[in-house]
């Protein structure tokens, strides 16, 4: 009886999974870690993983710190969240600390957390099989050639590697895969109007270059050259155009990095002067919603909301010509801006009105027509009239925003033949705007009748006309 009791205590409980094992290939051979089952799931002993990957484990109170050659993470028992720098990584199961004091982690610790700790490439190569590889160096030499209309930045790597060039809000990022980059930055001075500087970002395991855009940046082009193989990134300034006499004042934000415009720096007379807001007049900011990798409503590959919002903004700009209203748009190209950047521009421009352009979408095809949204009141005291919290900027303008929304809703309803009403919603792009502000969904991209209007040039022109007329009536 006694022996039976001992035997029962030692047996795993009913329903527990069979033990699994992980294989980790390290430079000195393949090592195996066996799992221990807890709550029906497989866990792996952290001290064994740490020994293989040369991590240091330090336990303080209920907190365990795992330190590698490149980074540190912290975790607590019973929580699936692992803290890394300022963010939390979510594991599939909570970290488990046995009563004996041993720490155990689920398998995805190896895939999600371990690569962040190591100065080497650590990846999953098959089911429950991982590989640790030291990284090969790639010496990348940069050369710069300044031309009248562009700057050519030439990347000459010692090893040919897949190179990814992507546009960010304030920079062009050039990243090299599979190798650790050892940079050799250029000595030739850069044209500061086009490129402020080239920064090497070593936070990523492989390393990447950020070409920080200058005030006259317009676009970039990338191409390859051979013998020796090299990648060229051309940074171009805007083509010079002459405007017809008597043309309307249509101002657009200088492409001097939207981020910087959105958050003007404080202090320093010279810098402050450069970022001085425009003189107060009748300024209106139009915000074409979405952009870049943020498509918005997408009923098909051809119908992307971001393209329709940009088209409508262009239509409004065209129809505003000859008008005394100074018109600003938050974006003129296919880039994604955060809601904060969009509302920052409205405030920086001292706008008298802000209109964020969108189109609706629903799996219910029957929904149609325009809907104008205004900010929902936030139940928080405003405090000092001189110091309004960012998220409460719209509070004082709600009545006037509603007035603008009513005019827009009425004109757009007449165009679409609908009787939709304005709607209150907590909208990130409207909440901080210190001016009458609305968000317009000018028809549903998912409704066939609305699509007909939106896809025809006349339809888009008429919507643009309704917005322009509404603004003029509101600002009169």
């Amino acid at each position: 009886m006694v022996l039976l009791g001992v035997w029962l205590c030692l047996q795993p409980s009913v329903g527990e999974a069979a033990a699994q094992q992980l294989e980790i290939e390290v430079p000195r051979g393949t090592q195996t870690i066996r799992s221990r089952t807890h709550e029906g799931r497989a866990y792996y002993r952290l001290s064994q993983i740490a020994q293989l990957l040369e991590l240091t484990l330090v336990e303080r109170g209920g907190l365990l710190e795992a330190r590698g050659s490149r980074g540190v993470v912290q975790m607590t028992a019973g929580r699936p969240l692992v803290r890394y720098q300022q963010q939390y990584l979510l594991l599939s199961d909570p970290v488990w600390r046995r009563s004996s004091g041993e720490w155990y982690v689920p398998e995805d610790f190896l895939a999600k957390v371990a690569p962040l700790l190591l100065e080497a490439k650590f990846e999953r190569i098959a089911d429950r099989r991982y590989q640790l590889q030291s990284l090969v160096e790639n010496r990348v030499q940069l050369q710069v050639v300044n031309y009248p209309d562009h700057v050519a930045i030439i990347f000459i790597p010692s090893r040919r590697a897949p190179i990814r060039v992507q546009e960010l809000t304030g920079a062009i990022r050039v990243s090299f895969g599979d190798f650790r980059v050892v940079p050799s930055l250029p000595r030739t001075p850069l044209d500061p109007e086009l490129v402020q500087r080239i920064r090497f970002d070593s936070e990523d395991l492989f390393g990447s270059f950020d070409i920080i855009k200058g005030g006259s940046y317009h676009s970039y082009r990338e191409y390859d050259l051979s013998d020796p193989w090299r990648k060229v990134v051309g940074i171009y300034r805007a083509p010079i155009t002459t405007s017809a006499p008597g043309a309307a004042t249509v101002l657009q934000p200088t492409p001097r990095s939207v981020t910087e415009l959105a958050f003007p720096p404080l202090g320093g007379d010279e810098i402050a002067k450069e970022f001085e807001p425009p003189p107060s007049g009748t300024a209106v900011t139009i915000d074409p919603g979405h952009g870049g990798e943020n498509y918005g409503v997408r009923p098909s590959q051809e119908l992307l909301e971001k393209n329709f919002t940009q088209k409508l903004a262009e239509e409004i700009v065209r129809q505003m010509k000859g008008n005394r209203i100074q018109l600003y748009t938050t974006r003129t190209r296919d880039i994604n801006l955060s809601a904060q950047q969009r509302s920052s521009l409205a405030n920086f421009n001292r706008s008298k009105a802000f209109v964020s352009l969108h189109f609706g979408g629903s799996h219910e095809e029957s929904l149609r027509g325009p809907v104008v949204y205004v900010q929902e009141p936030i139940d928080e005291p405003l405090g000092s009239p001189r110091l309004v919290p960012w998220a409460l900027g719209q509070q004082r303008y709600m009545t006037r925003s509603r007035r603008l929304a009513e005019i827009l809703q009425q004109k757009l309803n007449a165009l679409f033949g609908t009787d939709n009403s304005i709607v209150e919603a907590p909208l990130a792009v409207l909440a901080p705007v210190t001016a009458p502000a609305v968000l317009v969904e000018a028809g549903f991209l998912t409704n066939p009748r609305d699509q007909e209007i939106l896809r025809s040039p006349d339809g888009m022109a008429e919507i643009g006309r309704a917005v322009v007329d509404s603004l003029q009536e509101f600002l009169r």
Binding site: V2, G5, V6, C9, L10, H38, E39, G40, R41, G78, R79, P80, L81, Q87, Y88, L90, S92, D93, P94, W96, R97, R98, S99, G289, H290, N294, G296, V297, R298, E305, S338, A339, Q340, H358, F359, G360, G361, S362, H363, E364, L367, R368, V371, Y373, I378, A391, T418, N420, S421, V423, A425, P426, L427, A428, V429, A431, L439, E441, F444, T446
Partner: protein
Amino acid sequence: MTARLKIIVAVALVLVTLLIAFLYYRWEAEQRSNRSDLPALASLELEEQAAAETPLYQVNLYLYDPVSGKPGLGQLIQMSREIPGSESDELLGQQILNAVIRESPGILPPVARVLQVFLMEDGTAVVDLSRETAEQLSGGVTSELGILRALTRSLRENLPGVQRVRFLVDGEERHTLSGHVSLSQPFM
């Protein structure tokens, strides 16, 4: 039986008794620590396990119905459903919200998931939505707002201590869920 044999048997019995007591103590401690881990567990496996093992519990789900009002003014409709009960309110909340998601096909993508629900002492519930929920949410302002209100109402109605709901995406605070509706303030 000699006196010496009696002593050996007695010592052996004492040792076996001590061993049993020690093993029982360890087993009991492990069970206790497992029980205290329960509220924090986020895995779907646990949810499924709960579904198989526990009795059903009737809840009122609130679902967003886009066609019950004018465009932009979709209403919430109430629906009774039976879901597995749970000792933990946080796990129950997660099951309720995942049931709302399951009952909202078309509005939310099939991969949408509530990863975790935390209940704070001040009446705030923190709901951690999966990254796919935000990335693959189709529709405009109305759908985004509709689903957030449906999740909020379903949690408030079924867990009496919940007064407001804050949303995270993949464990992180975000300005918006899918580009429109602000997540910086809690939903009531």
